[in-house]
Symmetry: C2
Subunit: 241 residues, 2 copies
DNA sequence: ATGCCAAGTTGATCAAGGTCAACAACCAAG
DNA sequence: CTTGGTTGTTGACCTTGATCAACTTGGCAT
């Protein structure tokens, strides 16, 4: 069950600071941020932070755990649009209409820092660095989505899977985890949905890359045997579809 | 050739105001915006406002004409990520890294209003309404991209084409043009790239929808014969791929 | 243990859409 | 008026990845 704890989140102490906050805030500015982020929330595996249609009030920084966001269309179809790991910020889809447009669901027991958005806007007015940072975070999401569109529109199945794994790898590395050896937090079906493929195709592609000796897969555990070659396969591979 | 004219753009007078600016700015606030947007720029068909790698300095409101943005990956592949019509704002991909990540190219002789971004941030601090609006515009882009990902990942060719046409139709309607009768500004190839399809598939799908009596296509001229049915085809159609 | 369910793998088959090619229509330039 | 280049249409064929189905494994509840 989702549970709310009023633990002083203290951004000023958080080891994710550099990922989630601007670099180079003054002491005074940092303490303003501390006062802003006043609530940490535990989300159990399978629970949602928010769902499509919920009123938008805050954005969320992942403190611990793993999330997916997914959109659903009128007919039953749904699609995973993103995965989020610690230090990443989610919920910005809600700003435009004061309503969320997707579900944000925990893939494992997780914790998020709740950032009330209107207060954030208020503080932005006083701390231009904060405003700049917010704009960058939003813009980064736009750029990321463009890359995603590129992937969905122009890459073949194997390339998508490779791009996905390399992206995960790079994000783990940025957090100080092993770049070539990690556990997937999501199912084959969720990966497939994210990549615009069926789960069988994801599974087959894993197996195939393993036969080639580029990958070792054992259930959710992935080991990249040669990231350099994988990268090359992305940029060289056929002029695509 | 691209040409710069210092014509008083006067947002306060512009008929696109409601699309491009927040509704409900005070007189005083509007005149602040007028002072911000101090340059209008003509872009000839085929020319770029900016290209990938260009330093980011401003965002652009389309005043007149039609644009596409496209990203290109290391290997030659490129993909159209968006089309923009009057009243829409482009260039926000550049904020995150102070560098543009795509090319913005005019599909016909066009005019844009140049909005220096750092000045915009400065004014946002003084005019909270402006800040709110900026955030909404950026967030709307995020939501739009999510819808695009949904389309690319979960829809079949015919559905994508229908969704594309209905989206255009709705945007024309919002601008006071006929919703069911308009001219495409882009080639079949550009549509295909945007939709993750080949130009032949776009062409065939047009022909097919025409045979069904749902569409009339003559070169670039499109007439939607029954938007209601088309909409229904989107939401009902098979549980998809 | 036992049974059940969700998650994953693998194979056989099929269809959507990509590829290749021919051709038509329509400019714009000479 | 002719020529060449761009854009669009249509057909024949082929490839990729979806679909359907059988089977395995592991976790959890009884």
């Amino acid at each position: 069950m989702t549970e709310i704890i009023k633990l002083q989140p203290a951004c000023s102490q958080c080891n994710l600071q550099e990922l989630c906050l601007p670099i180079g805030l003054s002491e005074a500015e940092l303490s303003l941020v501390d006062s802003l982020v006043d609530e940490r929330r535990k989300i159990a595996r399978g629970e949602a932070i928010f769902r499509s249609g919920d009123r938008f009030t805050a954005i969320y920084a992942v403190k611990l755990g793993f999330f997916k966001t997914e959109v659903l269309s009128e007919d039953g179809r749904h699609q995973v649009t993103s995965f989020y790991m610690p230090g990443e910020v989610l919920g910005m889809d809600g700003i435009s209409a004061e309503t969320h447009h997707c579900d944000a669901i925990a893939l494992e027991d997780s914790e998020v820092c709740l950032i009330p958005f209107h207060e954030l806007e208020t503080i932005s007015v006083k701390v231009p660095t904060m405003q700049r940072h917010l704009h960058r975070v939003m813009s980064r999401e736009i750029v990321r989505d463009q890359g995603m569109m590129m992937m969905l529109g122009a890459m073949r199945a194997e390339e998508r899977v490779i791009a996905f794994l390399l992206n995960l790898s790079q994000r783990y590395a940025a957090r100080g985890y092993a770049a070539a050896d990690f556990n997937l937090r999501m199912t084959r079906e969720e990966i497939g949905s994210y990549l615009g493929l069926k789960l069988e195709t994801v599974s087959r592609t894993f197996s195939h890359l393993q036969e080639e000796g580029l990958l070792q897969v054992e259930k959710k555990h992935i080991r990249l045997m040669d990231a350099a070659i994988l990268k090359k396969m992305l940029s060289q591979e056929g002029i695509g579809r």
